[in-house]
Symmetry: C2
Subunit: 246 residues, 2 copies
Amino acid sequence: MHAQPPSSTVSADHPFAEVQVLAFDIFGTVVDWHGSIVREMQALYPAVDASAFARAWRAGYQPAMARVMRGEQGWTLIDDLHRGILDDILPRFGLAHLTEAERQHLNRVWHRLDAWADSVEGLARLKRRFIITTLSNGNIGLLTRMSKRAGLPWDCVLSAEVFKAYKPSPETYLGVARVFDLPPRQVALVAAHHDDLAAARACGLRTAYIERPQEFGADHPKDVSPQPGNDMHCTSLTALADRLGC
Amino acid sequence: MHAQPPSSTVSADHPFAEVQVLAFDIFGTVVDWHGSIVREMQALYPAVDASAFARAWRAGYQPAMARVMRGEQGWTLIDDLHRGILDDILPRFGLAHLTEAERQHLNRVWHRLDAWADSVEGLARLKRRFIITTLSNGNIGLLTRMSKRAGLPWDCVLSAEVFKAYKPSPETYLGVARVFDLPPRQVALVAAHHDDLAAARACGLRTAYIERPQEFGADHPKDVSPQPGNDMHCTSLTALADRLGC
């Protein structure tokens, strides 16, 4: 259970040599929100274009958070933002007739997201060397239930809910460093989104980009080419563990 | 990884029949603060009465939290309260000469507390059926590092730091219910302290008392006799798992 000293595979001048905490983005990076929603929609409502439905639901997320961050709406858990977006898009997909109970059940799909195939093994290996924590805009209850179901072995569950600010607010990235009483350079963000990583980097965190080309579905491939600025660029969480000698 | 349905060993009218989340007090309930501090003090400063030192350090804890809760001091992490108390008591034990580095190291003993012998197995078994979370006045960084070292398999790490209130404030107990979007009766507090359990019960939570007769050392046995009001009274976390059919 004791933290291991850095192995010889990470040299003293590696950007992660001093890192003690890995903070993970969740939706898209560790779990496959698109595929998970598609699978549930196809089972429940086979007439609906499940892939487009999943993307429409996710597309409402940034604007909903932006309304909260502009102060147009008080602090709101992601569960409630997801529900508002769901109610908005249901008529567009011919599902305006869903009952309250059906809507509640469907909204909870975000608690039932499946991990990418490499996530459980990658996290278990990284956990041997680092403190591994979530850093997600998802609320704590959502993250905990999802992680328990998927077997994600976090040391800690941090969320926008703890900091009362959503990513990419600096309060979230610097909040992780403060929680663990570390300078920002000893914390790294692991994410499949360059904007999230850029905001973390601006706060002094280290960064690792994870390629998730199918985040939006096989029919909507995502550009996962490297961008300058990230300390690491990996194809999976197991590849990140390989590179860090875990 | 999926939550199991209640087993036949807990009947429908058992007070825990509807409980989904077990929230655990930590210091004294899951980990042995007294024995852990004694072992470190005996190794570092063998001339000191380690048992009395541990009790003096712990005795400063409630008054320090009370000053914060009365508003005489801003919100303060337990790591910092521990440090203030440490600086106060060192001269009394002939340790006024300790350097800043030695004080910092000693203060971190709270991150290195050992679990009681039954805790890891008990939690692992309870985790099969329930969401298991900390609910401690200890800060998140302390709880995470301590739990990682001791192998405590939490689903979630909740702390006074999340709610900006210390137990026994109702915000903490009701905060757990709110985080998991549950009525209070579906959350139980597990603790070795009757005052903590009484405050949780007043908020509508279920309660389980755990006997820890040696919390203050073998030379200061604690009265662990049952008190009315608690839903369960057990000798250990494995006994709690037995009684709940886990």
